[in-house]
Amino acid sequence: EPEVTQTPSHQVTQMGQEVILRCVPISNHLYFYWYRQILGQKVEFLVSFYNNEISEKSEIFDDQFSVERPDGSNFTLKIRSTKLEDSAMYFCASRPGRWGHTEAFFGQGTRLTVV
């Protein structure tokens, strides 16, 4: 069964460093998302991406964040200068189409620890 794959599973980085979280969405999917979950809290939407453009972003997704689909298969989330409060689980998700009842398929997540 096709699945969304995220790498790495766990990333530890020093405050102020740049990190890139990687995702390989399901191959025929067109809509891509990043969500994050701070430990013990709810899952929060960060950004949605379609046709090589951001289609929506949340207040959390400030100038420190960027997304890219560099090669038609990977979907990346970059945090330019990490802060302690960026420590969280980051989930990538994809959907085949935008409308209708097609659900989002989530990856297994990347745990980011900023020290």
Partner: protein
């Protein structure tokens, strides 16, 4: 703005028994989608069941069923014949059928299953 509320931080059930997890939401929209996601200790988000608001019939997936009360804006999940593998965090989520396709999650309910 839409909100999702899960008022039960923790629930417990004995193996083979039935448990119901509560979810309420607030929206001014008439058409939308509701989901229950399961997050086991591995932290991956797994879709359990979905409900389209325009459908009056409650969705069912094997041992999982929902009680969707549109007027009351309530969307509870019933797990029948609970199994040890059902132990997880359960998140209720809302998705608009309008311009935005992001998922809005509740705070989650941790379900423990006792043998």
């Amino acid at each position: 703005a839409q909100t999702v509320t899960q008022s039960q931080p923790e629930m417990s059930v004995q193996e083979a028994e039935t448990v119901t997890l509560s979810c309420t939401y607030d929206t001014s929209e008439s058409d939308y989608y509701l989901f229950w996601y399961k997050q086991p200790p591995s932290r991956q988000m797994i879709l359990v069941i979905r409900q389209e608001a325009y459908k009056q019939q409650n969705a069912t997936e094997n041992r999982f069923s929902v009680n969707f009360q549109k007027a009351a804006k309530s969307f509870s999940l019933k797990i029948s014949d609970s199994q040890l593998g059902d132990a997880a965090m359960y998140f209720c989520a809302y998705r608009s059928s309008g311009d935005t396709d992001k998922l809005i999650f509740g705070t989650g309910t941790r379900l423990q299953v006792f043998p």
